[in-house]
């Protein structure tokens, strides 16, 4: 999505990323990934919950993630092991959701072209076609 950032901004939109990581940990992410867009801290997953995206990492998976060196407790600053399902939304200026991509499989990502098409259609004042 970061590669599509210039085109997103050309279309008058902004990219905002949200994760449950604490702001301190977000900065490390931001610096590590050289991000140039807003990264927000949704500690406790309250906003993700409002979007209906929160699940609890099953106990069977927790030692596997630890084995990868991923310390969710420290990154997120809470003990719930709650995480958001990865999702990308295009939100119009009236707060209406114009495009939603929600997938339980974290290796699936929205195709940036779909995001850009939705933004182009907003610009032209038309409804985006979810079939595209």
């Amino acid at each position: 999505m970061q590669l599509a950032l210039p085109r997103i901004e050309e279309l008058g939109a902004h990219l905002v990323a949200v994760s449950p990581q604490t702001p301190h940990n977000s900065v490390s992410t931001a610096q590590g990934m050289k991000l140039t867009f807003e990264v927000l801290s949704d500690v406790g997953n309250h906003v993700a919950r409002q979007f209906g995206l929160v699940f609890v990492l099953p106990e069977a998976l927790r030692p596997i993630y630890e084995g990868f060196g991923i310390d969710i407790l420290t990154a997120n600053g809470d003990e719930t092991f709650e995480l958001p399902i990865p999702a990308t939304y295009v939100i119009d200026r009236d707060r209406k959701i114009k495009m939603a991509f929600v997938d339980a499989d974290y290796t699936q990502r929205v195709d940036p072209e779909i995001v850009l098409s939705a933004l182009e259609e907003l610009r032209e004042g038309r409804q985006p076609d979810p079939r595209c």
Binding site: L15, I91, R93
Partner: protein, 82 residues
């Protein structure tokens, strides 16, 4: 390389680097999650996004409606930098 090529490579890489029994647990968990109904109950196209205020990486509060005044927002939820 297209996005789907990259993702196929990522899936292969994960499959090859993760021991088979762990990989099976992870795949099963993804399927459970997909089958739990959470995808269908999450916010969809046509819904109204909730207004929110969250701190950015530097602790400054950022509101969705402030961003929307400037134009549409591409809002991306992810699990973390890991």
């Amino acid at each position: 390389m297209s996005l789907s090529d990259d993702l196929t490579n990522l899936r292969e890489k994960v499959k090859n680097q993760v021991p088979p029994d762990q990989h099976a647990i992870m795949t099963h968990a993804t399927q459970d999650l997909a089958g739990s109904g959470i995808i269908e109950s999450a916010h969809q196209e046509g819904d109204l996004a909730p207004e929110f205020v969250l701190p950015n990486a530097f602790g400054t509060p950022v509101s969705l409606s402030e961003h929307l005044k400037k134009g549409p927002v591409v809002l991306s939820f992810y699990r973390g930098g890991w």
